[in-house]
């Protein structure tokens, strides 16, 4: 495990309006999808995610929460909040 994250923690990566960044703090891996959306909404509205411009009207309705366990290449748990991707 990367020493920045514990086994029960995850990095949260957010994609919004073509921009991408991480929540400043890790979260517990058992946080609910609703919690992830709420924290991301607050963070994007406040402008506290490096890489994502502040957006006072940001909303994550319809966004998807993906959860990835740590791997050899990425030695920490990852939670990703992203737009739907129906096209190919």
């Amino acid at each position: 495990m990367h020493n920045q994250y514990r086994n029960d923690e995850a990095r949260v990566n957010v994609t919004y309006a073509g921009q991408n960044g991480d929540l400043p703090d890790s979260v517990y891996t058992h946080a609910s999808d609703g919690d992830i959306r709420a924290w991301a909404t607050e963070a994007v509205r406040n402008g506290s995610i490096p890489g994502i411009r502040p957006s006072p009207s940001a909303t994550f309705h319809g966004f998807v929460v993906d959860r990835f366990r740590a791997t050899r290449d990425r030695p920490y748990n990852l939670i990703q909040l992203r737009p739907k991707t129906p096209f190919g």
Binding site: N13, N20, D73, R82, F87
Partner: protein
């Protein structure tokens, strides 16, 4: 040894991934029932002479003419009845644009234990995913009339996401690693 790859759907991501794999030691089988429309020329690896032709035929012609590369083509719509005949190989790459067909691919590769990469794009062209099947959940489609990332402004991003699809296939054949990517305009994250 030559690897067999089946690419299902040769629209936005699928057409580009075929040409990005042209230098690999692979035999490509492309499946798509659709025809090339003028608008496809703006964002897909289809050319003006291909407009009106079956996408697989247009792609095969471009690959032969530009690179001297041959691909096998199947111009049928994937269905429950033909999935055993159409799908197969050492790797399946799903670049379809609807949940129903994606679920047919997912069902088949899981049943037959065939490695499968899924490529997926957000409707506004702001986000792309390259996901191995074991991590892939099929997203529902958007509302009728919503964006479909078809305009030419999305071409660079579509091509970048396709390149990551091809890269993931390369890594898999190189040392059996299953690396996925989340792609945004600011860069890509391994998953």
């Amino acid at each position: 040894m030559t690897k067999n790859i089946t690419v299902v759907g040769v629209g936005a991501l699928g057409s580009h991934v075929v040409q990005f794999l042209r230098s690999e030691d692979v035999a490509i089988r492309a499946i798509d029932f659709d025809r090339v429309e003028q608008k496809n020329v703006y964002s897909q690896f289809h050319s003006k002479p291909g407009v009106g032709k079956k996408k697989v035929a247009s792609l095969a012609q471009s690959m032969q003419m530009l690179f001297g590369a041959k691909i096998k083509t199947i111009s049928h719509k994937l269905s429950k009845d033909n999935q055993d005949a159409l799908l197969g190989g050492d790797l399946v790459i799903d670049c379809l644009d609807n949940a129903t067909s994606r679920s047919l691919v997912q069902e088949w590769v899981r049943k037959h234990n065939v490695p499968c990469l899924h490529g997926a794009l957000a409707p506004d062209g702001s986000f792309g995913r390259v996901v191995w099947d074991e991590n892939f959940a099929i997203d529902s489609e958007g509302e009728p009339g919503s964006a479909t990332c078809e305009s030419g402004e999305f071409l660079p991003f579509i091509a970048i996401t396709s390149a990551y699809l091809a890269r993931a296939a390369q890594e898999f054949f190189l040392d059996n690693r299953r690396v996925g990517y989340e792609v945004s305009p600011s860069g890509a994250t391994k998953t």
